[in-house]
């Protein structure tokens, strides 16, 4: 089996996780910038985090033979403080030329507030100006439907944005159709208690087909499973999917989207 982990917060994971992922056939891991679980107190905290994402974590992953790529932003959970958010957005261009940066992400909304939306639009503007791919986080639980609608509307109203260069992550049964029908890529996050189980993700693949769709573990410092993607591949096998189709879903599809960045190269 070979697969790409398109969304993993590896700075929060152990070397045992890297070993297990390498043994399971992980060919690359992509790490969006994320909330640390607490609010960073200044722009300097983000500067250090972006150094960690663009320099230190790729070196750590390389020890396990896994290429590491990253996405940069200030997470929507920290966007309510628009002054800090704007300071952070201003330092991102310094890092966009680093060899493993794929784009702007994971941006989006958390509680669907006006300030979050304003900072989301500033990130989208940054991505458009620098011709970057975009990775989007949709809100949790009861906030997901409204947030996904607001995000799709904001993206559609910016004519510079090409939907095929945007992945909207953490879709579920009530948001996937809107995302795919609008021309975007959709990500399904495999979590034990929230977002999506393996069985439901495969249901959505069965219903919507395998185009513009990927799966990720979004493993981080919370309850999450770094091997969720290969586990789902096993479940697809159990459900009678062919080896070729499984390879498309866990390797070829993420490769297709990510290869829109000239930086994403495997082997």
């Amino acid at each position: 089996m070979r697969y790409i982990e398109p969304h993993g917060h590896m700075v929060s994971r152990t070397t045992d996780d890297y070993t297990a992922m390498a043994m399971a056939g992980c060919q690359a891991v992509c790490e969006p910038a994320f909330w640390a679980g607490f609010d960073r107190s200044s722009v300097d905290g983000f500067y250090d985090y972006f150094c960690q994402l663009t320099e230190h974590e790729p070196a750590r992953a390389a020890k396990f033979g896994i290429p590491h790529y990253t996405w940069l932003c200030i997470n929507p959970k920290e966007s309510e403080d628009t002054k800090l958010a704007e300071e952070v957005i201003n330092i991102i261009p310094k890092f966009l030329d680093k060899p493993t940066v794929l784009g702007i992400g994971e941006i989006g909304l958390n509680k669907n507030s006006r300030n979050e939306l304003r900072i989301f639009e500033k990130h989208v503007d940054l991505a458009a100006k620098h011709d970057q791919l975009i990775l989007i986080h949709t809100p949790h639980l009861e906030d997901k439907l409204k947030g996904t609608r607001l995000i799709v509307d904001a993206l559609k109203s910016d004519k510079r944005i090409k939907p095929e260069r945007v992945i909207i992550d953490h879709v579920e049964e009530h948001t996937i159709k809107l995302v795919l029908d609008s021309g975007f890529w959709a990500g399904m996050t495999l979590y034990p208690d929230s977002k999506c189980t393996s069985a439901r993700a495969i249901d959505m693949i069965d219903i919507y087909g395998g185009e513009r769709l990927w799966m990720n573990s979004a493993c981080d410092w919370g309850v999450s499973v770094p091997l969720a993607v290969p586990r789902t591949a096993l479940e697809m096998k159990k459900r009678g999917h062919s080896a070729e189709f499984i390879d498309k879903m866990i390797y070829q599809n993420p490769l297709k989207f990510l290869s829109q960045s000239p930086r994403f190269k495997l082997g």
């Binding site: 309510e80 509680k111 507030s113 006006r114 639980l141 009861e142 459900r239 009678g240």
Partner: protein, 86 residues
């Protein structure tokens, strides 16, 4: 997969989850105090299971979702509860 195969693969898992939900409701009944909005939302979402398919999962998610469309004036908390409080 045929319906028979779906049952073979998923019946025991779904059965376990069904009993867990029943036990959760019993546990709530036994506990003292008043429940908050989440229980009402849960019971309402449960009704979606008895409706016609094929999109019961979507209907349950919609039933638990904030249906409004205007952005919030301000985010005062970071977390979500899993059910929409009117």
């Amino acid at each position: 997969m045929t319906r028979q195969q779906v049952l073979d693969v998923y019946f025991m898992e779904a059965r376990a989850k069904l009993i867990d939900i029943a036990a959760f409701l019993d546990r709530l009944d036994r506990a003292p105090g008043e429940p908050d909005f989440r229980l009402r939302a849960f019971i309402k979402a449960l009704h979606e299971l008895q409706g016609e398919g094929p999109n019961r999962a979507e209907k349950v998610l919609l039933s638990l979702s904030d249906p409004t469309t205007e952005p919030l004036a301000k985010a005062t908390v970071k977390g979500a509860t899993g059910a929409w409080r009117k």
